[in-house]
Symmetry: C2
Subunit: 219 residues, 2 copies
DNA sequence: AATTATTTTTAGACTAGTCTAAAATTTTTA
DNA sequence: TAAAAATTTTAGACTAGTCTAAAAATAATT
């Protein structure tokens, strides 16, 4: 129905609108898709003609409901495939993204739904991101950054901001994974780094760079 | 590395060369790919430039070893995915082809090999076709057509010639599946139809059209 | 408010893949 | 074996998506 390229544009615009509802600029889209602004303008016109987004020259874009649904469906497939790769094929959480970028474009509603069932209708993918439902609903997360936790606060590792392989591999090395029980011992005001206790008994010093890319929830 | 289109051309040429080692004509390729002869000529030139096949104007093509390996790898992925869809996601054997046509182009050696292991390194797909090995070897089949069996001969259903959904659904209806034990009772010389006994006790009359699309082996 | 800087869009060109229509070649047939 | 038929190739055009370079619009700065 829609090309890989169209789906990638819609997904990129959707993800940008998640964090910065305003300012979905041509340049921002070009940057995440690693393409040029001129190409983005061309594609935006095409998607606008197809009523997948609203476009005003020089003023940016917003997805229509139709466009949002396609984007969310693509995200759904991406996260289901990541879950499959991790849970069933034993890929590390740092290895699943690139393969899922290909698999997310496979076009078969029956396949997506059977895969969902096969995986036991998971609510989250291997990075802790919520998996949209069949009807396109997606849970609004109540997570916060580890660097924003209060001293003495006990939290559970529940997601990442940075999804890059190097960051995930770093977490592997220091043995922080989804579900890890963390207690914030101390915050260093000077450089933003934090001291944490990792259940049951590990002491860790985390740089601000690391702490601000870890999502947690209270327990 | 290679585009979907290139892989589809190589696969089509490979399959044609399996059954009719000669006569891999431009028109034959165009027919299986549902495209026009002019398009085939264009693509053949491109694949020839890339040393994936040998091409002499007006004389047809033959795959090089490099081209053959890409084709076989694509077939391998197709059949592994079909097996996954059937064994794990519970798709019928008549439903797996179209989805596997998409999945066969996913480009990740790690994925293919992990999928292979996850499935228990199957030797055949849901239609009885052999799955090529990692190194591109494929078992030469010793199957023959049910319509060529001798009266009184006891055989095992082991594959199909026609892979279309309607034919597979017809086999579903008459309860013939891979592994079915069949005894040829009688051959009708006039119309080529056959009388068979389907283990344990079903009597069936099969038209020649059906019998010549069922592959069997002796038991 | 005018100039400068930045962003966005347009214009025109390129590649991959496809098509139709016409030309070239091969095969068939009488 | 020459004419007719069929097949294959070429020529030129089209779409999707991309790019560079230049023009247009907006935003920032003095």
């Amino acid at each position: 129905m829609y090309s890989f390229t169209e789906e990638n544009y819609l997904k990129a615009i959707y993800k940008l609108s998640e964090r910065e509802p305003e300012s979905i600029t041509t340049n921002a889209i070009a940057e995440v898709l690693e393409t040029k602004a001129a190409s983005v303008t061309d594609m935006i016109k095409k998607l606008s003609d197809k009523k997948l987004l609203k476009y005003e020259k020089y003023r940016g874009v917003t997805l229509t409901e139709k466009g949002r649904l396609i984007a969310v469906e693509t995200v759904r497939k991406h996260r289901l495939w990541e879950t499959f790769l991790h849970e069933k094929l034993e890929f590390g959480w740092d290895e699943v993204h690139d393969i899922a970028e290909q698999l997310e474009h496979i076009n078969s509603e029956a396949l997506t739904n059977k895969l969902d069932d096969f995986l036991g209708n998971p609510s989250h993918d291997p990075h802790g991101d919520p998996i949209p439902t069949r009807s396109g609903e997606i849970k609004r997360s109540n997570l916060f950054l580890l660097c924003d936790a209060k001293p003495k606060q006990k939290v559970v590792m529940s997601g990442v901001v940075d999804h890059s392989a190097p960051f995930l591999q770093h977490l592997n090395k220091i043995a922080i994974a989804l579900g890890s029980q963390i207690e914030l011992l101390d915050k260093n005001e000077y450089d933003g780094s934090v001291e944490v206790k990792l259940f049951p008994s590990t002491h860790l010093h985390l740089s601000k760079e690391v702490a601000k890319n870890i999502l947690v929830k209270t327990r």
